[in-house]
Subunit: 361 residues, 2 copies
């Protein structure tokens, strides 16, 4: 059985295409549901020109969201309630759509809100696979950071009371992507790097994995090559365009592939220490020579060329119990280990070995 | 303004995924419209195992189609009438869907029938851009040849009483692609080559063109690299998988690019002499060193490696009037020439020069 995967229905790509957003959304506004909800990373609140360019209509709702921490189910529920309240005030049943403008976390919040507006209960009830019953309201992605692939994925990764797990569903997939390379030009240098490395590491893991087929390979190889151009060669006027394409291709390559050791271990770091996904992957990857010798060597050249100082000693203050929790969280992700190390992965990646790796970080 | 392009909603890729077709279609059959129409290239009629694998239900309609000639609007109208008649006999308003199984011409017929079942008049009325008003019935592509990119394009190229021109519309785009590399394994060697060259030449034209952006470049470069692997390197067990991906990527790259000299001239050959699109591109391309020196040199290495004898002297018997018609047809395609040669293309590609090129073929 091969996955019959759902794609993002409409894509627009080009420098300045953000200016077309108003026209694109016009087609979604109806007499019954005329109002849009813009879910925007609050870094754009202060002195950023993006705010003035938002195509807000009179009754549209602008929701500034904070993603200093990774998205939590509680936060999603609170934001969804805010939207419901605003719609009630406007005597509307639902908004015409939810537009996520920001990086992976903001896009995940937009996806989750669009789903929770039509599905009852808490977003924590839907963490898992294909638990969503009712289609979401129309939702569109406008990435301002590139690398996570959140613009094309069928998940929205949330930290709930019990687990960090995505709402994986065909209904999660965006209806529209607006890919404007000009929007990622102002990302802070380190954040741009770590988000890009999320993509690079993902490609290394999937291309060396056991799950790969020609579809995911074609997307993954090109994504990797674009990351190499962006992070190992001199900047060109279209470096941002290439990084944006790398992210999109990396996301598409996941259709028939899986990530591996770095992502599994990064989940452990995130769960216990709250380390963000992008930087967590980089911290872990630097200790994985044994599994990805070529990839790690190239990653170090990228670090050097981009002048990035990787955080060290992040687990130095962690207790044995904390390290054990990291090990538990990481080892739960069976498909990632099987993809990386094959069917007999449990004989290769023992608890002791994993503990030792975490201790070194 | 950048095109906000529509994608194929669902994609399944993998060896043997044709076996999932019945399950995929089940979701589209309704109580009101339960019947599928299978539009299948009649080369599969004789002694081909594909016929037995078609997931036909009791009341489904199997339409064998002949594509010895490229699709004509008259043929589309006749096939559409057949489907209407069959539906009336079954006391149904419309079929649940139209499934095209074959190469580019068969997929184009399936697209055109799905459009004409819901739009009044003749298919010739809709040759052009965005003339279709009513969405088509559900339609799915199952390619058995790879290279044309018809599985992802927003056109169905038809020869009408007055012109050879596609029905270009968002409604033309398939709802589903079933990409099973096993299905292209039995294609005749020459046909496989020429169809693959349609993709290769298209990539050379778009990558060297003036219209390119990073989106189309990423898809085009990977498509070209896959063609190079398939036609210049030793066969591997996944050569067919790669060719299938090359075709899909080539089709996607057209979103923000355009073809060039070879395609323009090939239209002239097709209109006057009925030369098929795939082989027509190859015939023309071999005389275009001046415009695509690297691409033509590599194309000749592919010809040699694959042991293909290109037809020669195809215009030897053509009258001056016929050559003039070829020139007229080719020169009408302004965007192709502008993409290839820039704004001043008319000073570069004179009628005399084009006439001379046609005469040499």
């Amino acid at each position: 059985m091969f996955r019959n995967f759902k794609t993002v229905k409409r894509i627009v790509f080009g420098r300045g295409c953000f200016n077309q957003l108003d026209d694109i959304l016009a087609a979604q506004r109806t007499a019954e549901c005329p109002d849009m909800v813009f879910v925007v990373d609050d870094v754009f609140k202060k002195g950023k020109p993006l705010q003035e360019r938002l195509p807000l209509h009179d009754e549209d709702l602008l929701l500034w969201v904070n993603v200093d921490d990774e998205p939590k189910t509680k936060y999603v529920d609170q934001l969804t309630a805010e939207v419901r309240k605003a719609m009630t005030e406007r005597r509307r049943h639902l908004p015409a759509g939810v537009i996520g403008i920001g990086g992976g976390s903001t896009m995940d919040l937009a996806k989750a809100i669009s789903l929770m507006l039509t599905n009852p209960g808490s977003s924590a009830d839907y963490q898992g696979w294909d638990l969503i019953q009712v289609p979401a309201v129309y939702h569109a992605a406008v990435p301002t950071l590139s690398g996570t692939g959140a613009e094309v994925s069928r998940t929205t990764v949330l930290t709930g009371p019990e687990k960090k797990l995505g709402i994986n569903s065909d209904h999660t997939v965006f209806d529209q992507m607006v890919l404007d390379p000009e929007l990622i030009a102002d990302a802070p240098r380190e954040q741009r790097f770590y988000t890009g490395m999320d993509c690079y590491i993902h490609c290394v893991e999937s291309l060396t994995g056991t799950y790969l087929n020609a579809f995911s390979q074609a997307y993954g190889e090109k994504s990797l090559a674009l990351c190499q151009e962006v992070f190992l060669q001199a900047d060109t006027p279209d470096s941002d365009d290439k990084l944006m394409m790398a992210s999109y291709f990396g996301g598409m390559s996941i259709a028939y592939s899986q990530v591996g050791v770095a992502h599994a271990m990064s989940y452990g770091l995130a769960f216990v220490l709250g380390v963000h996904h992008g930087i967590g992957n980089s911290i872990v990857f630097d200790y994985l020579d044994e599994f990805y010798p070529q990839g790690v060597a190239e990653f170090r050249r990228m670090l050097e060329r981009q002048g990035i100082d990787l955080p060290r000693g992040v687990t130095a203050a962690s207790s044995d119990a904390q390290i054990d929790t990291m090990v538990n969280v990481a080892l739960m992700l069976h498909p990632l280990w099987e993809n990386a190390l094959g069917k007999d992965w449990q004989q290769i990646m023992t608890r002791e070995k994993l503990r030792d790796l975490y201790r070194r970080m």
